[in-house]
């Protein structure tokens, strides 16, 4: 499922961009993030076909510290950062400053020749700050960040053209979020969030490779959002009632994207009213039985070229239980119905092809899983999930006669598969390892005609098999880790011809770190080697990925 289907919550604020439907992670800095949590399928308070990604930033652990550090890598990337965290009584404060830049001319192999990536350079500055006041029943938090990113757009690599783009991109992003969390009573909690996201984008295209009739184009995106939810707990019953509204606008939309048409401002207001409940039910035959259900009413008002109103009712139901004979095992099942409205880029990318009639994606998904914990040589957990998804009007980007890609609906897809996760911590956490395997059989099940050779073929860029195998060894002040991933063959054309497939690849990353103290200063020295096997691989056709990259990191904590 594409990233637009994943709901992204940053400090509880919904930050999915109106233009892309996703969030531009390049404007963030991992170092400034305290916690990232992915909730598969649907979280308690949100119904989203692609799950929910929750990002938390801002002195979460109420620390008092000063950190400085830096990183250099074999692509001449340099990164420097400093942070301060302060906490006293009910008050806490945190701030990060990160500066990074790189020519980023990484090595890759294309058609048997070792080359350096062109126009992949970047320069980035990120600064954030947060303040929090908290008592036993009240939390007030304010977070803000500013990000400036100037980068080349490397473009595709094809035969005899390894520098297809000389365009440059500038993104200035400002995100501010205020949170209130108030426990009205032991049973009743009120949470409210107000956020404002402003993003300025500018593209310089000196050779008119992307913008046809001019050398530069800018666009500004604004999103003001408010959400509130009330949670009530009564014995073994939890009830949640929530409402959110976001008012977004983006100017120069079609001009910026298609490079042909004049400026138009697009506006969208989205409102969601939702409620959900879950209840633990006592049972003679089961250790624990949990039933959950939720509905979400979505109302969208759009104004670009013409006015449009759309509403959709999503729902979910779930059941989980623990058998009496296996108290460390949980069996889960859930069913949900979801909708994703087309993004502005999808719907208004190119006026002359009339894709303003693009339909939103609808999904119905069923999950059945088993999760079991055990303790043999160390704690471990195994989880197996079967999933099946029926999709309607899935949006894909298709090339056209004018060599411009425009979004189209595929009427029906069906995806089913198995996810297997096994993790274990051995010898008192001396050695930890995990393996994740996903089998995904995702097919187009609608044929436009008998001539359509895409019927019952695997959806593009979706491998049947994907495996991650990770391990870490902790010995005294040393830590060693290895992360590997295997991605099976993928097709980049929907008729699944061998000629238009991408080879499977296997990546291995190694890391070693040493922690030592000098006086009261805690020092961490880390060496990372990414793609140590120099695997030649593509995630997307014509975009070759880096060969081996070595980075050295140092961090001091006062």
């Amino acid at each position: 499922m594409s990233s637009e289907n994943t709901l992204i919550l940053f400090n509880e604020a919904r930050v999915n961009d109106l233009r892309t439907g996703s969030f531009d992670f390049s404007t963030l800095e991992l170092y400034a993030i305290d916690k990232i949590e992915y909730v598969k399928n649907n979280s308690a308070d949100n119904i989203s076909a692609g799950g929910v990604l929750k990002i938390t930033s801002g002195n979460l652990d109420n620390q008092n510290s000063v950190n400085i550090g830096g990183m250099v890598n074999s692509n001449l990337t340099q990164k420097y950062f400093g942070s301060i965290s302060y906490s006293k009584n009910n008050f806490s404060f945190g701030s990060n400053y990160i500066r990074s830049y790189s020519p980023n001319e990484y090595n890759y192999i294309f058609e048997g020749e070792k080359l350096k990536r062109k126009n992949a350079q970047y320069s980035k500055t990120f600064v954030n700050a947060d303040v929090k006041w908290s008592s036993t029943d009240f939390v007030l938090k304010f977070y803000t960040h500013y990000s400036h990113l100037s980068s080349g757009l490397p473009g595709f690599v094809v035969t005899n053209n390894t520098a297809s783009s000389k365009a440059l991109n500038l993104t200035n992003s400002w995100l501010s979020i205020a949170n209130v969390n108030y426990s009205i009573s032991n049973n009743l909690v009120f949470v409210s969030t107000l956020s404002y996201h402003n993003q300025f984008l500018e593209m310089e295209d000196p050779q008119n490779q992307l913008l046809i009739d001019r050398n530069s184009q800018s666009s500004t995106f604004n999103d003001l959002a408010f959400s509130s939810k009330l949670t009530y707990k009564f014995r073994k019953l939890n009830i949640l009632l929530g409402y959110n509204i976001s008012d977004s606008n983006v100017d120069s939309l079609t001009t910026y994207i298609s490079g042909i048409f004049s400026s138009t401002t697009g506006k969208r207001t989205e409102q969601n009213i939702y409620t959900s409940a879950n209840c633990l039910i006592p049972s003679k035959y089961l250790e624990e039985l949990n039933i959950s259900a939720g509905i979400n009413y979505q109302l969208i008002n759009e104004d670009i070229y013409n006015k449009l109103e759309h509403n959709y009712l999503s729902y979910k139901i779930g059941l989980s239980f623990t058998p009496l004979f296996a108290k460390d095992t949980e069996i889960l099942t859930s069913f949900s119905s979801n909708y994703r409205h087309p993004t502005f880029n999808e719907k208004y990318y190119s006026g002359f092809f009339g894709n303003s009639g693009l339909k939103g994606e609808e999904y119905k998904s069923l999950n059945i899983g088993i999760n079991s914990k055990f303790n043999i040589l160390g704690k471990g957990e195994i989880e197996i999930t079967y999933f099946t998804i029926w999709g309607n009007n899935r949006i894909i980007w298709a090339p056209t006669i004018l060599a411009i890609q425009i979004p189209r609906n595929i009427s029906k897809i069906k995806s089913d598969g198995i996810e297997l996760r096994f993790e274990q911590s051995l010898f008192h956490s001396l050695f930890n390892w995990e393996i994740l395997y996903t089998y995904t059989n995702a097919r187009n099940i609608s044929a436009v005609s008998e001539d359509d050779k895409t019927y019952n073929k695997q959806i593009i860029y979706t491998p049947l098999h994907r495996v991650n195998l990770n391990g870490s060894l902790n010995i005294s002040d040393f830590r060693f880790s290895a992360n590997s991933s295997f991605v099976g063959k993928r097709y980049f054309t929907p008729d699944n011809t061998e000629r238009n497939s991408l080879a499977p690849y296997f990546l291995l990353d190694l890391s070693a770190s040493y922690q030592f103290n000098i006086s009261t200063i805690e020092n961490i020295f880390t060496i990372n080697i990414y793609n140590i096997l120099d695997e030649e691989y593509f995630i997307i056709q014509s975009y070759p990925m880096p060969l081996k990259t070595i980075s050295i990191n140092y961090q001091a904590r006062l």
Binding site: F156, V158, N160, N161, F374, I376, I382, P399, T493, T497
Partner: protein
Amino acid sequence: MKKTRNKTICVKVLNKLLFLFIASTFFLIGCESTTNPPPIVELNKAVIVVNEGGYGQNNSSISTYSLEDKIVQTDVYYNANSKKNLGASANDIVISGEKGFIAVTVSNKIHIVEMRDFTSVDSIDFTTFGSPVKLVTSGTNGYVTTLNSLLVKFDISSYSVLDTISVGFKPEGIAISDGKIFIANSGYGVGTTVTVVEESTFRIVKNINVKLNPTNVVSDGNDVFVVSTGSYSDGIGMLTKIDATSLNIIDTLIISKNPGRLALGDDKELYVINGNGIVHVAGATMSIINETLVPASDVNNIYFSINAVGYDRDADLLYLGNPKDYQQNGEIAIYNSSGNEEGRFDAGISPRAIVFKK
């Protein structure tokens, strides 16, 4: 005690399964296809199809259809040249003697091939001149339009660039008549001129104003026919007939639904692709014989569009490129001059140019 032993057995079994799983993973990595390409059947009389491929996907290809024994061959260049890629966005081909010249736009190359089996002879790098779009040959020279707004002259024997000249913005179609080269400056939808360059001096002799968005041009004797695709908002295009000697516009004909590529038939008849299908035009009288000789929906029942047209004068047959959805492999539909289907054969992604080797 029994429970613990069972658990231990379970873990052992699980570990074995995991070992098998990881081992099979590495096995899968080593299982890449090593299939040899099929041998190329040498071509005598054949239809040659240039398939553009997906934009930026580096999968342009050549398909052939033997007119004698009806053998269809796909991915001919790739198979004839040890799995070497033709490149990205191949747009045109011209045959001169035993050699073929293929313009591969995004890969900035003209590939020269042996027409009997498509083995590569040489290539001309256009990185400094801009992406080649469409080409013609005349005598010992070849001429190609490029997206750097140039007309490039090259030697078809030594494969070297001889000269360049700036023409209008984003030139596309090109044709030769009466010792002059006619270039349609589409300007990617904003151009309004045809540049005329004298072959002998390689200098511009005139810029002729035509309707918006001139994209394609063919010549027959002293008549030059220019197709203006027009605006994408109203779709109104135009066919303009120019006298190659006087360089005056003789006549015009409005064609709706964004007319594009065209093929020249007998007696100055023209087969023009537009949004509805194939428009049959009498070039001599500049009148429409049949508004929709072949409906696009008959050729392509997915996106209702035709991407290429070729006319076989000997057999009086039209060959129409069906791109399907521009993502999957397309096909060529064969129609007679009455607009009835005669057959189909497979092609690559987005068939873009159709020529005949006789």
